[in-house]
Symmetry: C2
């Protein structure tokens, strides 16, 4: 697949395109233009055409995109045709919210185990997922696990990540604001609430200024 | 300020740059090269130089960036020199995690009120923030509120957003997977856990394939 040339920004938009296409197919929409698709996902149609162009001729001029075909293509590209198992480290409020969220509903990602230090949580299930004691993380065989979701307090993020790496994990979705110092072959994706909120405030203030100066 | 030409992708990286610079200044680092800065934030130095170039000559060739000056500049650009008040709608697990997170610690954003339908939560405080009954959302004067964080279950997201707009809100950080249908002058920023996780899995799988084919 010619996917090595795909820019990171494009790759990051693919899951959103995929989910939107799933919905369009579900309501019986068989084809869509890039501009209509763009207005649904709230992304410029030029960007959308550019994004899809990295994967060859997915659409036809004057016809648009075949929603079913495009959805199947993205499903494959995003490895959604196979089950990805992940573990969750830290079953506090955020971890519990993610367990309740139930990734399986719309895709093939499943949280198979959670880990926590709290004895009152260990051995129990949260939304059907069992909570294991944190010290088992180092001894558990996680070789079939694609990634770990890290939702421990900041002060414990580095230590928890190192324990997970020792057990075979090489990818993290990190919700703590801490930048982790990890081996170069470990991939970390940050979700930072403060950054998201600051970005929102930036866009709000700038769009207000633009309106005022019109 | 020449910020209207700033691409969205650049604007989205500014909060991360700002926070990293705060840390560098705190540890007494007075200047930094774009390549060193890039290795810290894990972003290509070419991208960093391009991002900063939108705001004029912030660095000097052969010298790099003055961390203090750059931090102060970004503080202003990101409106972090003034307090932004936000409200939180939905004090479930995710909402509680965000209230515990305490945005104020590293920046000037404060959750001033939370709203929930659960009578067992209403009237109480979570991490110092009072929980109001949801029906007060429509009658409360939210004209001094910059944005609302939406952490209600998907089925209630549209309704809650409409109530917030009626009370004066025009910006949302939406954590529900629902795409909201709102007036054009309302700005919505989505944080989608499924999309983040799929993007992580995409990058992990592709980097593994690249390693295998080496």
């Amino acid at each position: 697949m010619a996917s090595q040339k795909v820019p990171q920004a494009t790759a990051e938009r693919l899951p959103l395109y995929y989910r939107t296409l799933q919905r369009l197919v579900a309501i019986g929409k068989t084809r869509i233009s890039s501009s209509e698709f763009g207005s649904i996902v709230q992304i410029d149609s030029t960007t959308i055409r550019k994004d899809f162009s990295y994967f060859g001729a997915l659409g036809r001029k004057g016809y648009g995109y075949d929603t079913q075909r495009l959805m199947e293509f993205l499903k494959k590209i995003l490895y959604q045709d196979e089950l990805s198992k992940v573990i969750l480290i830290g079953a506090g409020h955020l971890g519990t919210a993610l367990l309740n969220h139930n990734f399986q509903k719309n895709n093939n990602t499943k949280i198979v185990r959670a880990y926590d230090v709290d004895p009152s949580k260990v051995g129990k299930e949260i939304s059907g997922t069992e909570v294991h004691p944190m010290n088992e993380l180092v001894t558990d065989d996680n070789s079939d696990i694609t990634a770990a979701i890290l939702t421990v307090p900041s002060a414990h993020a580095q230590e928890a990540a190192e324990m997970a790496i020792a057990s075979g994990i090489h990818g993290f979705l990190n919700f703590s604001p801490t930048r982790l110092v990890l081996p170069a072959d470990v991939y970390v994706r940050h979700v930072d609430m403060t950054v998201e909120l600051q970005a929102l405030i930036y866009f709000l203030n700038h769009s207000m200024e633009e309106r005022k100066s019109e």
